[in-house]
Symmetry: C2
Subunit: 737 residues, 2 copies
Amino acid sequence: MTSDISTGSFTLPGEAGFEQLTLRLAKKWGADTIRDSDGTQLSPEIVQSGYAIYSTVCLVRSVQPWARTHRDKLQQNFLMSRPVVAAKSSVTVTLLDGYYTEQFAVNFKDSPKQWWQVFDRTTGDEVPKSKWSVNPRKGAVTITGAYPGHRYTVNFLAFRIWEEISMYNHLTNNWGDREHLAAVDPMQPETQKALLAFLDGWLRGHPDTKVVRFTSMFYNFSWFWGADHKRLRDIYSDWGDYEMTVSPRALRLFEKKHGYRLTSEDFVNGGLYNSTHNAPSRRYRDYMAFVHDFVIEFGRKCIDLVHRHGKLAYVFYDDHWIGVEPSSPRFAEFGFDGLIKCVFNAFEVRLCAHSRGVSTKELRLHPYLFPTGLKGEPTFQKGGGGNPTLDAKNFWIDARRGIVRAPIDRIGLGGYLSLVEPWPDFQDYIEQVAQEFRLLKSFHAGDTPYVAPFKVAVLTAWGDLRAWTCSGHFMQNVELYHVLETLAGLPLDVQFISLDDVAARGVPRGVRAIINCGRAGTAWSGGHHWDDPRVEAALAEWVRKGGGFVGIAEPSARPQPGQNFRLAQVLGLDRDNGERLANGSYNYDAPAAGAAAPHFITADLADGRAPDLGKGVDGIYVLGGGTQVLADGDGSPRLATHVFGKGRAVYLSGFKFSHENTRLLHRALFWAAADEAAWGAWHAENFYTECSWFPKKKKLVVINNAGTPQTTRVTLGDGRTALPVGLDAHGIAILDV
Amino acid sequence: MTSDISTGSFTLPGEAGFEQLTLRLAKKWGADTIRDSDGTQLSPEIVQSGYAIYSTVCLVRSVQPWARTHRDKLQQNFLMSRPVVAAKSSVTVTLLDGYYTEQFAVNFKDSPKQWWQVFDRTTGDEVPKSKWSVNPRKGAVTITGAYPGHRYTVNFLAFRIWEEISMYNHLTNNWGDREHLAAVDPMQPETQKALLAFLDGWLRGHPDTKVVRFTSMFYNFSWFWGADHKRLRDIYSDWGDYEMTVSPRALRLFEKKHGYRLTSEDFVNGGLYNSTHNAPSRRYRDYMAFVHDFVIEFGRKCIDLVHRHGKLAYVFYDDHWIGVEPSSPRFAEFGFDGLIKCVFNAFEVRLCAHSRGVSTKELRLHPYLFPTGLKGEPTFQKGGGGNPTLDAKNFWIDARRGIVRAPIDRIGLGGYLSLVEPWPDFQDYIEQVAQEFRLLKSFHAGDTPYVAPFKVAVLTAWGDLRAWTCSGHFMQNVELYHVLETLAGLPLDVQFISLDDVAARGVPRGVRAIINCGRAGTAWSGGHHWDDPRVEAALAEWVRKGGGFVGIAEPSARPQPGQNFRLAQVLGLDRDNGERLANGSYNYDAPAAGAAAPHFITADLADGRAPDLGKGVDGIYVLGGGTQVLADGDGSPRLATHVFGKGRAVYLSGFKFSHENTRLLHRALFWAAADEAAWGAWHAENFYTECSWFPKKKKLVVINNAGTPQTTRVTLGDGRTALPVGLDAHGIAILDV
């Protein structure tokens, strides 16, 4: 390591009262920047110590006295009341039944008859407005002429009287009678004035701040709380849904711009709202574009103001990030200088790296310097079983897989720095992490690591807008998350395409393997977006001509009579959802339970055992003898291949991120792309290890993704010349070759 | 036992060449009737021995020379060609690709352009008739103007040139070059003449025959064979589907009668055909009624002819039973004298007993006198591991549960009598079975066994037309079969109602517990029949006012946005099909994994263990605190209860027939009906045993359903007075109380 990489690119959370520690660790970790965090302040001694200063600001909850006197300018959203089964012809629905009334207050001010809808959910029909009336005193709607035995719900507007992030922190940290902060809606011109005035004053009041870190722009991801925090706290929670942007003003502006009117049901959708996981409607996509327009427009005013004060503007890629859309081609229009992503996993590193239109990309690493972790684990509790150094190592080896593959500019920590004082080994390890990061960053500078000689595309309903994420943290029951985490560290050129993209323009040039992974109806599998026949036609033709299709769980699922996977003929199999009891199924050859058949794809599975692909999907049947089943479970193929024309398809019944499965998917992509010949170039044989070749720097980075020492053999670009490499637990080796 | 029940009500299969055995066993078993079987003849010595004689006749395959010279009068059906993905704008579909060409020959004679349809399955649209042409020489259709990458199928008419039952017997028994029999279509007037002429001659030629056993009427259940008998013999097989009745003539007559035209797709349905397991369309139900009309009309002519010859007409409730419909209210119009059902299980006993309009109901018991059983087991193979006596005992205790509950007039065996010669213990056991049967029959005479003081209804899309069956033999993966087998032996008054019945007339009077059991989309759960909002409304109202609803697997499933079970509010739970990743779910209290919570329903579960309900359904979430989870697995309730208004609901995630689960369901029904107070009357405590009280005869029949000796305590009508009873393995005890 050379001296020019011993400092810089590191953001340290300072803490007033711990000035000596702050400055000592800033030096030890090579920090160039000191930040404040939620709950911490920086003292003048720190601010004037010569380091660059980051300061956080959350605009929408910044103007509290104003918010309290302008309750009609608070943010709002549609909610669906809990379904009520009518017992008589008159039925009363208590609107906020089951909801947390410290978060929500019904908006009776904007005409309910204009904005609300009442549904007979039994028939699916809207109840005429003449048949229901509002009782603001009781917070209820009464329906007349109801049919006994039918279910009724009311879609209504509610103001949010407690901003969700401050509510979460308040309740989690028992802040008692501390003020409940509310978020104002910047869609209101009057609110915009108040916010810009606040920001101007704030900028004047922070002369030492170099970087303004917005947390984030204006609208939080959707998070509806229930009244019973023990039994049902999160009635609805989605990291990517735009529910919390809605208001009568937004709806009016939308109609003016897009020429048609959205209804409450476009947002409520029977209580499913617009979960990112479900294939989005065209109307909702229009609405997202509308909000994105607005957030860019007003966001740019805020950023321009920051720039006029000679400061930089960074944005946090969480919390109030709705409408910011760092994956959007329009993101550059904001004029942000930096993007900060909190990361637990490799896919989040790639998510951050993927954004275009910002010069600095920074990761907030874990563990966060809080007494307990997100799941309540005792990270920094001395004597409480915490082992923050081991936590840091495990988080680091996950994130590092992504950092090796894609350029990141900075890393940093957040929280209470004082917590690390009793953990000298943690202090030492972070020093090592910072050095390792700067070294990897130096390799990326002017260079690009080796990737396979073909491109890989992940096909979803969202395409590039939701590249490298399925909406928020890693959800174990979403197969695509496992796939993203796998891909995030593999030497592949991965792109994300939507079914709409394929319908309009076909498969992008250079792509030789496509992954479609997810359950029927989800945005990940594609859901109703498969209704456009151009998608199926383009993909079938593309495979026939030599493309490779890797389908996982319920790929291309969109049921028609007699066929559930649109690409069943390509995959050589389909799923029986219970409608084929009278249809026979082909009696295929399969390896014994628990075993995998020998194949290029299965070559690295330990002891020829079938891979553990998680729960996955059952009821798969093969269409004929052309389908080769490589692993089977309970009479349903788990892993199968099929040749279609000049192309190839691979099916996996599920997927679970593991080192072994990472190798399996890597091989499956090479096989699908019919590029087995290229396998083995710049390759680490032991699947607990991976390597990355920087051709211009002539550096071969070998990483150990395991918590135990490993030996591996690394093959060079010819795929044959092999070098033995030994690695410490969590270790790294740099080879000059 | 009194002497008047030592003989009669027993049909023995005679066998020429084994006259002495035939007459000895006829006497030993108390037979009053001797029959021929497939493959056996009766010699004059047997025919004139003084026993009544049954003779089998299968009309549609009786006129072979005529069939060969009238190929256009053979039966036919629609088939769907295997989907072909177009590679160019012209695509050729080989019609019989994958089908068994000894069974099918394409019908090019009736205008293909009039009757066939070609579909672009990618779009779902029919291809215009101008865009395809038929090549009879190649057995193919060529489509022009096709879209590359789209899937195409052809619905075409095929003659069946080999009748399925004779084909099955021929191939199973290696009959070599024996003639392939074809089935003629009696919908053709000319064919009707030929058949009546044959029958008249046959009747004249069988002067000693007392009973003509029709096997059965005209149309076999649907059975489409594949070319590859090892890999995919049964392309489609459904015991209740009317596919094999179709012809241009039938379609023309249908249109004339019903005023609208059916298309090939009404039968093909994307290759799913009209499986009895899937919720039927209104159009298909109309077609069934049309065929039923015809089968009654021409069937009655045949039966009248039998009667004019002074003989009785019995009909076999299998094989060519399509259109016969013994559960139909019109069945009596045939004028049959007897109905014969082959039984493996108790539900088939109830199926036979359920038919109205026939004076004699006879069961063909198992084991069938064949060297091997239906699944290839070596029943009568001496030294081959066969144990026909044990088989007979096990079949008998299953059938006996039904015989105890519902009156049956006769039993009998079929096959090669000579096979029983080396098995004297089998001969003895059948003597015992015959005696036991006659005793039970005597109890039913003029009496009706005790049932619970409330009625139970099984709710399906089919209702009473498919009472006591889900189409053919017991399929392990159909939950309702398990329920039917359970109900078949319970002291309950069970009726079968359809969703249409409920929509039109509500829940029948006296019904206090309704079972709805099955997977989403099936006829058993109800599928699209739930679209009629009157069904949901009627049932919700009925439960609210005090009814009991027992839902199993996916009861009332018919997805709408945000809700999958129409009666979720009644059940207190619903299923997440993957669309609720962003919706929170209520955190309920549940017993530990593998345990059952104490409750009236779970009181008899061994050691408080959770019941084994089979694979069942996962992803169930509860709606709130009112739902009590009695057993849980992998975070999804397996058994739960919910109070709705004055009524009660019970949910089971699946169901598997077992003695323990029989008790569980029995209790669930009493709890749902809110009649726990009536529990215990005429009740056997040990769940391997059951009892049946004949009030007029004052006989309490106690049966042991296990293959091991059991002791039990039987409580009398007061539910308290208990008598200890010991029973042999498979045993029975009769108590005078």
